[in-house]
């Protein structure tokens, strides 16, 4: 009996290996990503807690200490504040970086630097902006980078301020310098967490003057947003893999049983019971499952740490930490995997019961399932090769449908992630609802503005320029940054309504209008820096996928000072030349996109990596499947192949028939993926980015991408079918007929 079971199992080698691989891949990805993601969140929370970071962070551009004001508020338990200094420093490649300097070391795990030194947020190291020992010039002072510290407050790649810490003496020297921009950081601890985190410190009269008011949840969301998106996408892929693994198990069993009919029947005549036959299969497949799972669990010790490190870096942190496996995750995945497989196996095994020796030995071949859909070779005009291939395809439709589904689903996933990748490529500014502005010029003295612009134009030709006012309004009790331009930037993608035609018209971000429950055309009363009650009309919404930035646009307010000018150059690449080469008293140039640049590249890298991973996975899985299906069909059709050879089909003709058959299945799979992509792709994608903290994603994948990926699949499948069908040549007619 032992031998019998062994022979049954050995006959299924190809399947067992596939199942081991698929179980391994899907469990590994799930365990890894879930463990790393969970660790990412909990490590962040722990770090936040151990550094005694506040419930709310307030940043206000003023000389005065705001602590006293904040302390008097209702829900506030404790406030500590630190005066800070906003400066522009030059990083690698002359990039402008906005540094928020302070001498406060109480909130971070950092030793106070000496008078010639500065300590920077670790994110600046991981993005390659600074190294230990670099020299930084701030005002008249030359400082050396002493080291880096992890900043859980403002160090996220999603925030535009990077922190630096200097000694008390240095700090005092710097604030004493002329034209230094003072700002206050206030760390607020609340009596109890607010129910509605949108309405923080509503009783604070200076709310409108605060540059930012972030609560703990918001900060955490910003930190964990990138890992969340990445984790979600990978988990989606893992779920696909997991499902496919179940498919393969069912497929393996059904076709394995069909192939082994004779063997099973022989065993039955030899006195083996149906239960013993079942047991042989169950043990074989469950063993493959367990083998894949065990290897996956072992491997995930390593991969979880790698994934965690990757996520941790996405957060802007560099320190390496070690995480251990999450027992709950491992247990859950193990149970899910084995439970589902067991169910599928038992379901599929029902068929062995119906195999009776008589039914099998009657004509020595497996039952054919002609009927249902009949395709007639006689009456159709197709060339013989295609006709025969199609007929055989229909005969094995079960196998090929599985193949079609697998390829369809994976290709769909691949297209979706490629779309995501496409969306993050290139025009990220507009995706994030940021108009493209190369540099902003500040001139306190409006009379020299014209001359300065001419000087700039001579150095680097200007494409467009105009006034810009960065203001804030209080709308429905929320502080909204309001960007006022003398001419609305053309990159703004208007989703509904139109762009503002005067200073009383508002263009809101698409998610802001949703969260504030407003409508286009509605009149609203807002509080501005100049007036407590101004009526404005919402005239439209623009597209942004970043729901961290709830902003609004309008035209310049004639009552506000016009001392900032935005400048777009004919060639953006000349920006560095301008920043380095332009000097004029009382005129200050800033590159406002520099701080978002690293964020953008971080996102782009992550998404691109993902897209490539999924594409490779798609190719591997489809390749595996093409091979399996080809291998199996040839294996079960050896007799038919011998027969066809006897009738005079050449080896090449027979191989081409297999190619056609896979071709039909592949074409259907590709069709399926395109249909899925068209009808539920954007829905799913938007759901996904929504979970990750972004909204509104409407990007079209260029047709050329579809074509390339499809060609790649077709090429790969052809190669694999060709390779799998080499065995046809070896089939000897005499052995089978």
């Amino acid at each position: 009996m032992q031998k019998i079971i062994k022979s049954l199992i050995l006959g299924q080698k190809a399947f067992m290996v596939t199942i081991v691989i698929l179980t391994f891949l899907s469990s590994l990805t799930m365990i890894t990503v879930l463990t790393a993601y969970q660790a990412n969140v909990s490590h962040y929370q722990t770090a936040y807690r151990t550094h005694k970071l506040p419930d709310i962070l307030v940043k206000q551009d003023t000389q005065q200490d705001v602590a006293a004001d904040l302390k008097g508020l209702k829900n506030v338990k404790r406030v500590s504040s630190a005066p800070s200094l906003m400066t522009q420093v030059e990083g690698k490649d002359k990039q402008n970086i906005t540094l928020l300097l302070s001498d406060d070391t109480s909130h971070f795990n950092v030793q106070a630097p000496s008078n010639h030194e500065i300590v920077l947020a670790s994110y600046l190291e991981s993005t390659g902006n600074f190294k230990r020992g670099d020299a930084i010039q701030i005002g008249d002072k030359n400082l050396t980078v002493k080291g880096f510290y992890e900043d859980q407050l403002l160090g996220s790649p999603l925030f535009k301020y990077k922190q630096g810490i200097v000694s008390q003496t240095t700090f005092n020297t710097l604030i004493a310098q002329k034209g230094s921009q003072m700002t206050q950081l206030a760390f607020v601890n609340l009596v109890k967490a607010p129910k509605n985190s949108e309405k923080l410190l509503t009783d604070y009269h200076d709310r409108l003057k605060a540059d930012l008011i972030y609560d703990k949840g918001y900060i955490q969301k910003a930190y964990t947003m990138l890992p969340t998106i990445v984790a979600l996408v990978i988990i989606l892929a893992a779920i696909f893999l997991f499902g496919i693994c179940q498919f393969v198990i069912r497929f393996a069993l059904v076709s394995g049983i069909a192939k082994d009919r004779k063997k099973i029947a022989t065993f039955k005549t030899l006195g083996m019971s149906g239960r013993q036959v079942k047991l042989a299969y169950v043990s074989a497949f469950l063993l493959s499952n367990i083998a894949g799972l065990v290897v996956a669990i072992l491997a995930s010790f390593v991969t979880s740490n790698l994934a965690f490190k990757f996520f941790w870096h996405l957060n802007g942190f560099t320190s390496v930490r070690h995480i251990s496996l999450n027992i709950v995750v491992v247990l859950a995945i193990t149970l899910l995997m084995l439970g589902l497989s067991m169910m599928i196996i038992l379901l599929s095994l029902k068929e062995t019961g119906s195999i009776s020796p008589a039914s099998v030995f009657q004509d020595g071949q497996s039952k054919s399932n002609q009927g249902k859909f009949n395709f007639n070779l006689i009456k159709n005009p197709l060339p013989l090769q295609i006709g025969v291939a199609f007929k055989d395809y229909i005969q094995k439709i079960g196998h090929y449908m599985t193949f079609t589904l697998v390829i369809g689903l994976f290709l769909f996933l691949s297209l979706m992630i490629a779309t995501l990748n496409q969306g993050f490529k290139g025009h990220v500014d507009s995706l994030f609802g940021l108009p493209k502005v190369d540099v902003v010029m500040r001139t306190p003295d409006n009379t020299i503005r014209g001359e300065a612009l001419q000087q700039i134009n001579a150095l680097t030709p200007i494409k467009s320029s105009g006034y810009i006012q960065e203001t804030k309004v209080l709308l429905k009790n929320e502080v909204i940054p309001l960007h006022r331009y003398s001419k609305m930037p053309s990159e703004m993608k208007v989703l509904s309504g139109h762009t503002p035609k005067n200073q009383h018209e508002l263009l809101l971000s698409s998610n802001l209008i949703k969260t504030l429950k407003l409508k286009v055309g509605q009149k609203v009363h807002v509080k501005t820096q100049l007036s407590n009650n101004t009526e404005m009309t919402i005239v439209g919404t623009y597209q942004t996928i970043n729901n961290l930035g709830k902003e609004a646009y309008s035209l310049v307010d004639l009552d506000l000072p016009m001392n900032s000018t935005y400048i777009n150059l004919k060639s953006t690449s000349q920006k560095d030349k301008l920043l380095a080469g332009f000097h004029r008293d009382n005129v200050q140039l800033t590159d406002i996109s520099a701080s978002s640049k690293s964020l953008i590249t971080t996102i782009q890298t992550a998404v691109k990596l993902l897209a490539n991973m999924i594409l490779i996975l798609t190719l591997v899985i489809s390749g595996l499947f093409v091979y399996l299906v080809s291998y199996l069909t040839i294996e079960t059709e050896k007799r038919q192949l011998a027969l066809k050879k006897m009738l005079g089909f050449t080896n090449v003709q027979l191989k081409i028939q297999y190619l056609f058959r896979s071709g039909f299945a592949l074409a259907l799979g590709i069709g399926l993926s395109l249909i899925l992509d068209k009808f539920i792709g954007s829905f799913l994608l938007n759901g996904l980015v929504n979970l990750g903290g972004l909204t509104q994603f409407s990007v079209q994948l260029p047709l050329s991408y579809d074509i390339v990926i499809i060609l790649l699949l077709v090429f790969e499948s052809s190669l694999i079918v060709a390779s799998a069908s080499r065995r046809i040549t070896k089939i000897k007619i005499g052995d089978f007929l």
Partner: protein
Amino acid sequence: MIEKSIIQVKNLSKRYDDNNQILEGIDLDIFESAFTVIMGPSGAGKSTLLQNISTMDQPTSGHVIFEDQDLTKLSDKSLSRFRRKEIGFIFQSFNLIEHLSVLENVCLPGFLLKSKTKKQVIQRAKDLLTGLGLETHANQAINHLSGGQKQRVAIARSLINQPKILFADEPTGALDSTSGIEVLDNLTLNNQSGQTIVMVTHDLKAALRADRILFIKDGQIYGDRRFTPYDASQLKTRRAEVEAWLLEMGW
């Protein structure tokens, strides 16, 4: 009558991988329009010989000459063409393609050869099926047929391209005696109109149809005897004659 050889077998030997020598130095001429039957004890190598002559298998050494070509040296393409055009094959287990209908099975080699239009092939298939009494079954599925009907479909299929030689390996082996006789009658009828047939059998009734019987034993042609062409009216005397010879061979 001058006998014209259609296939010449020269010094053919067959040995399987397990070093089991089945055929040893066979020299043999198959004559045109003859009904040659191969007999011999079970396991003697009858099927092996048939397969090696008909290109279904490759001999270990020796040659099979057909119209000045050595069949053992053909490429896959020429071999396939030979199989399509020059030979038909009938088996004990029918070997029809299960998921094709009766008509499709019969037409397939015709479509493959492409020497006739599709219409002509279908017409010839229908004529053949009518001749075999299967006209009403043309569009049926194979597994709805009885064994005898299946074998007649196989005959129709083997004849679709008007092959020069028809090979049959125990065509009545899986049939009841009535169906067996029907099949044999069909083969005889074809032979009488000039069809060359080479048939392996261990069934005396089938052997009676031959005008030549080869007896295989110990890897050799142990006996080779001519008979007058089959005549149903003289069945009794023929039966005695054949049986006597076979007994002499040790059957």
